[in-house]
């Protein structure tokens, strides 16, 4: 939509760019609170802290676009972190361990994917079951203990840089690029949006809907596995308790990024911003010395505000006059868009 300055339409501007507006506002807040925010060292620091959240959010986005949800990502992150540490301690090459972590994550995704696509489970239930199983596996494998690793490559991938940029950020950019490319440029992306927007119409258009649903959970699992390995690198250890609430944070991220949990809507770059917003809020609150539990309250409020502003902007909530009674407000928007 091209708008000259003369007929600048705030509502459509806000609808298109609200994630960016929130993001920029947040950065301004951040820089006011922390004077050395704009040092390159600090920026690379906070990006590194949130890189894996973005990676997992990309997987979550895929599930959400199909109208699903993946609750198992946090649990997969913990399991693959623990396994990566154990593999490396057991003598496996770090690079092979990354592949193994991705494989384990994908395998967990296969379970969810089969339940959703073949056995028609609601994604919420399917991934909840996977989450519980994977959590159990994590504790069976780790006995609840942290596995420390002293391998130099392990440390390098977590803390080191290539061409002046931390490895973690390279990984994040690579994943964002891949997901963005698939969703916006390829046939697969087109079909994924159609499957989420209207599965029956998609099926009648010749799309193999179950295959796409299956693939989405495998990808989400694999990305969580990749993130699990890198979180272990960053900590220098495999911890069974890491990743709690990541499922919620990533869901919040894609929703703040404008995706619809009903499916069919969601953009990768916006989801990335959503993840960074969630991550930055965590950083800011830490900086302000807010304790963990009050942080949760703030996070919840932010999610409510973000979704509320989207609904207001899109006219989903009619504010200007009463609609009363039991009749749906299918209102003026429909009228003005007609013929």
């Amino acid at each position: 939509m091209k708008n000259g300055l003369r007929n600048f339409d705030f509502r459509s501007f806000w609808n298109s760019y609200q994630v960016w507006i929130i993001f920029i506002a947040l950065i301004i807040c951040y820089s006011l609170i922390s004077p050395d925010f704009f040092t390159s060292r600090n920026i690379s620091n906070i990006m590194t802290q949130n890189a894996m959240l973005v990676v997992v959010a990309m997987g979550q986005l895929l599930a959400v676009i199909t109208g699903g949800i993946d609750l198992s990502v946090g649990a997969i992150l913990a399991l693959t972190g623990v396994m990566t540490a154990k593999f490396v301690v057991g003598g496996m090459s770090v690079y092979v361990a990354i592949l193994a972590a991705i494989g384990i994550g994908a395998l967990a995704g296969v379970i969810s994917g089969l339940l959703v696509s073949k056995f028609k489970f609601a994604p919420f239930i399917a991934t909840l079951a996977t989450m519980v199983m994977v959590k159990g596996m994590t504790f069976v494998q780790s006995g609840g203990h942290v596995t420390y690793v002293s391998d130099p490559t392990f440390k390098f991938l977590g803390r080191g840089s290539i061409l002046g940029m931390p490895v973690m950020i390279w990984v994040m950019l690579l994943v964002i690029f891949l997901v963005w490319f698939v969703l916006t440029k390829t046939v697969v992306g087109r079909r994924l949006y159609a499957v989420g927007g209207n599965p029956e119409a998609a099926r009648l258009a010749g799309i193999n809907v179950p295959r796409y649903l299956f693939a989405v959970y495998v990808c989400s699992g694999a990305l969580a596995g990749l993130a699990g390995a890198f979180m272990a690198f960053r900590l220098g250890a495999g911890s069974p308790t890491i990743g709690s609430e990541w499922e919620l944070d990533t869901i919040a991220a894609v929703v703040v990024g404008g995706a619809s949990l009903m499916g069919g809507i969601g953009a990768p770059l916006n989801a990335m911003l959503g993840a960074l917003i969630i991550g930055f809020i965590r950083n800011i609150l830490n900086l302000l010395g807010v304790a963990t539990y009050p942080q949760l309250i703030v996070k919840g409020l932010i999610i409510i505000l973000a979704v509320l502003s989207q609904n207001l902007g899109s006219g989903l909530i009619v504010t200007k006059k009463k609609t009363g009674g039991g009749v749906q407000p299918e209102t003026d928007i429909v009228q003005s868009g007609k013929e």
Binding site: N198, A201, A202, L204, A205, S336
Partner: protein, 495 residues
């Protein structure tokens, strides 16, 4: 003064003047039809009457008193009820609970179930329905559900009932039942405002017809003073297009055309028993039948939208082994469902993305969509099918029914499907747009395509089809060539 008088009603929406200075009058115990194309202002007028919209200007009088209707609830309290196309019943509750939903009889806060059931039973009997008050609404047929809605209205002592497309989902036999109910309402002194796209119904049931066009009232007429063409002319403001689209030379042309689709012994284990048919290249084959006769299942089974349990299908002489939408499309078959919004389109996507969905394989290179080529092809189709839109990036949900159907057609022309199977090609599409759809269908067959269409609108079948087969109880009961087909013959063969 009339019983109901809506005086000088105007209403604007951003960018649209939906109604300007409309006067509408109806008498007590009258069935008054409101006719007009989509966008003429019918639904706005109704929504103002019921309180869903507030008018910018104008007054409403009922029985000489001015009403102040501020929202649907106050509309109901003042005796005005609307029965919408999508019924507003709660499927998991019983008939009695639905009828008394707004106003359950109570004693000391406890619901008087016995009285509720008894009164539900009585009021349903009154309109000629024998439905158990304890039945769950979800188990009822559509006409029974409408009866429950009407019972609800009678219990609330409604004075004005608005029926918005009440027959859209009804099979012909049940339309009769509905009309009997409407006659009973009329006899009880209830005023019925009746909206329908099916013009022949207006002539059957209405005492008077008021025509709206572009937000203004064109006039009020009695059905006995006017014929259907004249009514259409009032609605669209010009002479109606030719009602006959079929041309005699087509019969000669089709004589030697090869058979492209052959179906033998098709059955789905339920309504559809045993149907065989064959279609020639370039032909338009119509399928007539009552709802439940298995007619709409035929297309679904051929396409693979629904699983067939028996039968063989040959396309261009080649037998098809698997009945799946994906393989059907590869075999050049396309299916255009009656329920376009839920089955044919992804409403939240743009025109472009809906159209290209079926043709992505041709428009891509190693899975990467070729954007320029896609845009060019889509624009070409928008032009060819005369889809009225701002741009290819417009969301399909904002299009009118006729243009939505054109998008569905475009979607199948992109992969160059050779056989289009339409289920109710013009359901919910208004008169003007209908003729455009028919013209496009004929253009398509003139260029070598083939069409199979199921329709419950006999005039439509007679206007475009080269051949009509009639389905009764899951089997073919009759086949007519265009020249020999008449409404009577088809109607006889249905039962």
């Amino acid at each position: 003064m009339s019983y109901l008088h809506m005086k000088g009603i105007s209403k604007s929406f951003p960018g649209v003047r939906a109604l300007s200075n409309v006067d509408f009058e109806a008498e007590k115990g009258e069935v008054h039809a409101i006719a007009g194309e989509n966008g003429a202002g019918k639904s706005t007028l109704i929504k103002i009457l019921s309180g869903a919209y507030l008018p910018d200007e104008g007054q409403i009088f009922l029985d000489g008193k001015e009403l102040s209707i501020t929202d649907p609830h106050s509309g109901r309290e003042q005796g005005i009820s609307v029965i919408y196309q999508e019924l507003s019943l709660i499927p998991n509750m019983t008939v009695a609970e639905n009828i008394f939903l707004a106003n359950m009889p109570k004693r000391l806060g406890a619901v008087k179930w016995q009285e509720m059931r008894q009164r539900s039973h009585d009021v349903l009997q009154e309109i000629g329905f024998d439905i158990s008050p304890n039945a769950k609404v979800r188990d009822l047929s559509i006409v029974q559900q409408q009866a429950v809605e009407i019972a609800k209205i009678l219990v609330e002592e409604t004075k004005i009932v608005v029926m918005d497309e009440p027959t859209a989902l009804l099979p012909p036999r049940e339309v009769k039942t509905l009309f009997e109910v409407i006659n009973k309402l009329r006899a009880k002194g209830v005023t019925v405002l009746y909206i329908s796209h099916r013009l022949d119904e207006l002539f059957q049931i209405a005492d008077r017809i008021t025509v709206l066009r572009d937000g203004t009232k064109i006039g009020t007429v009695k059905p006995q003073d006017i014929n259907q063409d004249e009514l259409i002319q009032m609605m669209i403001g010009r002479k109606p297009a030719e009602r006959q689209y079929w041309k005699p030379e087509r019969a000669e042309m089709l004589k030697n055309a090869p058979v492209v689709l052959e179906v033998e012994g098709l059955g789905d284990g339920k309504n559809l028993k045993n149907v065989s048919l064959s279609v020639r290249k370039g032909e338009i084959l119509g399928i007539a039948g009552l709802v439940g006769s298995g007619n709409s299942e035929i297309l679904q089974c051929i396409f693979g939208a629904k699983q067939a349990v028996s039968g063989r299908i040959k396309i261009q002489g080649k037998e098809i082994k698997s009945f799946e939408p994906a393989t059907s499309i590869k075999n050049s078959l396309a299916f255009l469902p009656a329920d376009r919004k839920n089955l044919g389109l992804v409403l939240g996507m743009t025109i472009k993305r809906n159209i290209s969905l079926t043709g992505l394989d041709q428009l891509s290179n190693f899975f990467v969509v070729k954007n320029h080529q896609e845009n060019a092809v889509v624009d070409q189709l928008i032009k060819k099918l005369r889809i009225k839109s701002r741009s290819r990036e417009q969301m399909v949900e904002t299009l009118s029914g006729g243009n939505q159907q054109k998008v569905v057609m475009a979607k199948w022309l992109l992969p160059e499907c050779q056989i289009l199977m339409f289920d109710e090609p013009t359901r919910g599409i208004d008169v003007g747009a209908r003729s455009e759809i028919y013209e496009l269908m004929l253009e398509y067959v003139d260029q070598g395509g083939t069409i199979v269409m199921v329709s419950s609108d006999m005039q439509e079948l007679l206007a475009v089809c080269d051949r009509i087969i009639v389905i009764g109880q899951g089997q073919v009961t009759a086949v007519f060539d265009h020249e020999e087909a008449t409404e009577e013959k088809i109607g006889m063969a249905m039962f």
